[in-house]
């Protein structure tokens, strides 16, 4: 028996019952389309989160003042008053793999330039901050270590500030007033977009941390220290060294909790990908159920088809078809049904992902692996669920089958 002829016969049989064929395929179509679209959404979300996390900088270790304890008493970071500038200097001095260190203070305040004003975030940092966060300058450049030592009144502004306060003018060299203190703008940062939390990262004014502490906030404690490790595999080591050193400096005895919290970038990445992975597993398992239901639908229709076509099977056997020819014919029919459903599902799934990107602005990324897998899975569904009806057809007795009304 020729495979090609069997294919032609199977397709012809499917074409005879177009409505039934389409309805049977629907289960597979919906399942596959759901898998493709959901995986595309999941991938899109993951890659967006990865981009955002990469925007944090490279090999970053963050030390926050205070710590979150399980009792909930010391909830919150940053305002516990336990981190000092000396801690940051000690890290810079004593930990060789901490290649860049930037002490940080932070506040929100009104800023004004000429007759415009804007409520924004004000950060005090060291010049290392820009390299830690991998942040380019659109214009001008960073303030210097000299500026930090002298608590100079200079500032670097983000794109949002440049747009809101200076509109079309060149902000470089202009004066920005923070709490009445005039700062000279020495640099404009390149745009960085939204953070993982959805905040506008370009809505910021960055000044030397000394200036911020003395001239704007009047504080002596740091909110946080940004540290860059020499390489990705040094992150954990740097983290541990910092923890040991800070416990020593803060004289924390063995069984007491830290008065600081250390996070690294990997943790953010892990948390974000774990969330999207759970989502993907959930969606894929729902879609698998749909594929299973589709498979049962195929089996059901194939059983009906075998019964309906008992006479045809008898005729084929009478003129010389072997059992396996009949088996193959029905198996090919079932598999064509499921793979055609799979292909239509793939096309619909990709289409749905594209539509979501265009109209809902959801980031989607169609994964070639999910396309290949769902195609193969749908083919397997056809073989698996088509086998029993096909076997049943092949086992028919030609005399009985010919007599069947």
């Amino acid at each position: 028996m020729k495979i090609r002829a069997t294919f032609v016969m199977a397709l012809r049989a499917l074409r005879r019952n177009k409505m039934r064929t389409v309805l049977t395929m629907l289960g597979i179509i919906i399942g596959v389309a759901a898998v493709i679209a959901m995986v595309a959404i999941g991938n899109g979300a993951t890659s967006q989160v990865e981009d955002q996390i990469a925007a944090l900088g490279q090999n970053v270790v963050l030390i926050f003042a205070g710590s979150v304890t399980s009792g909930g008493v010391k909830a919150g970071w940053g305002n516990a008053g336990t981190l000092k500038v000396e801690d940051a200097k000690a890290i810079e001095r004593e930990i060789p793999d901490a290649v860049a260190v930037s002490p940080e203070v932070r506040t929100t305040n009104q800023v004004a330039a000429e007759n415009q004003n804007w409520f924004t975030n004000i950060q005090g940092e060291s010049p290392d901050y820009f390299s830690i966060r991998n942040w380019e300058f659109a214009e001008g450049g960073s303030f210097s270590d000299q500026d930090v030592r002298g608590a100079t009144k200079v500032a670097v502004i983000g794109q949002t500030i440049a747009r809101q306060l200076f509109d079309n003018d060149d902000p470089l060299g202009q004066i920005l007033r923070v709490k009445g203190v005039p700062f000279e703008i020495v640099g404009v940062l390149a745009g960085k977009g939204l953070s993982v939390m959805g905040q506008d990262q370009d809505d910021v004014v960055i000044v030397p941390y000394t200036s911020a502490m003395k001239r704007i906030m009047g504080v002596t404690n740091l909110r946080e220290i940004n540290v860059q490790a020499a390489s990705p595999d040094k992150i954990i080591q740097v983290q541990n060294e910092i923890a040991d050193m800070l416990r020593q400096r803060h004289k924390i005895v063995d069984d007491h909790d830290d008065d600081f919290t250390i996070h690294n970038q990997q943790e953010f990445t892990d948390a974000a990908t774990a969330t999207s992975r759970i989502l993907t597993i959930l969606v894929v398992s729902i879609a698998s159920v749909s594929l299973l239901v589709g498979g049962i639908g195929i089996m059901n229709i194939m059983l009906v088809s075998v019964t309906e076509r008992t006479r045809e099977i008898g005729i084929r056997m009478a003129v010389g078809a072997h059992g396996r020819d009949i088996l193959l014919q029905f198996l090919i029919e079932a598999t064509s049904l499921s793979t055609m459903g799979g292909i239509i599902g793939i096309v619909l799934g990709i289409g749905a992902s594209k539509l979501l990107s265009i109209f809902a602005q959801w980031p989607t990324l169609v994964s070639p692996l999910s396309v290949v897998l769902s195609f193969m899975f749908s083919a397997c569904v056809g073989i698996f669920f088509g086998f029993y009806p096909a076997k049943k057809a092949a086992a028919l007795d030609p005399i009985e089958a010919l007599r069947y009304e």
Partner: protein, 253 residues
Amino acid sequence: MIPVIELQNIERTYSSGEIEVRAVRGVSLTIEPGEFVAIMGASGSGKSTMMNTLGCLDRPTGGRYLLDGIDVSKLNRDELADIRNRKIGFVFQGFNLLSRTSAIENVELPMLYSHKRLTARQLRDKALAALEIVGLAERSGHYPNQLSGGQQQRVAIARALCNEPSLLLADEPTGNLDSRTSIEIMGVFQNLNDQGINIVMVTHELDIARYTKRSIVMRDGLVVGDSAVRERLFATEELRRLEEAHQAVQLTG
């Protein structure tokens, strides 16, 4: 010359539970090349079982069956299927064409299961040649529901012929046809037989059996009569007679 069919004491017993039904109880029979045989008998006489056995659809429970000199009584399912494909052409009472499948595709069907490797072009040519023999070449694209009963039976005959079988087995081929069409179909059979094709036909109609050359009568699973047909009818003459009678009716009417 090797006989086309040689049956040696064939038995077929059906056992359903406790009860044993002996449908065929020891039939010995030889059919030589070129014969046109009618197997007659009332229902329950065992002629259907004989038909299934001769057609290699069923295996005898006893005795030997030589088809073209090959013992087919001990073959398995697949081997029997191959024998049917190569040696036997079936014509059924209910035509048994595949519905919603064109005449030519119906004729091609046995060749699809053949061991011969034929190209699509060769399939088409052979099927068309077979349709030509039964005079339906110009309707090759028609579907069974677009053809009359007689035409459908001709397609079935063409299908039976396409693999050049040793034996044409017809099971009540005229049972579903009116008398005029029945004579036409018998004409087709007589033509084929004249060209050397062996035909065995099961029928219960006496006048149809008169178109054959030899009639075998069965009763209760045994052959009770086996004789050459006397006063054999010829389809061409019968058709001409019918035509004349028809015209006579028109003239008087």
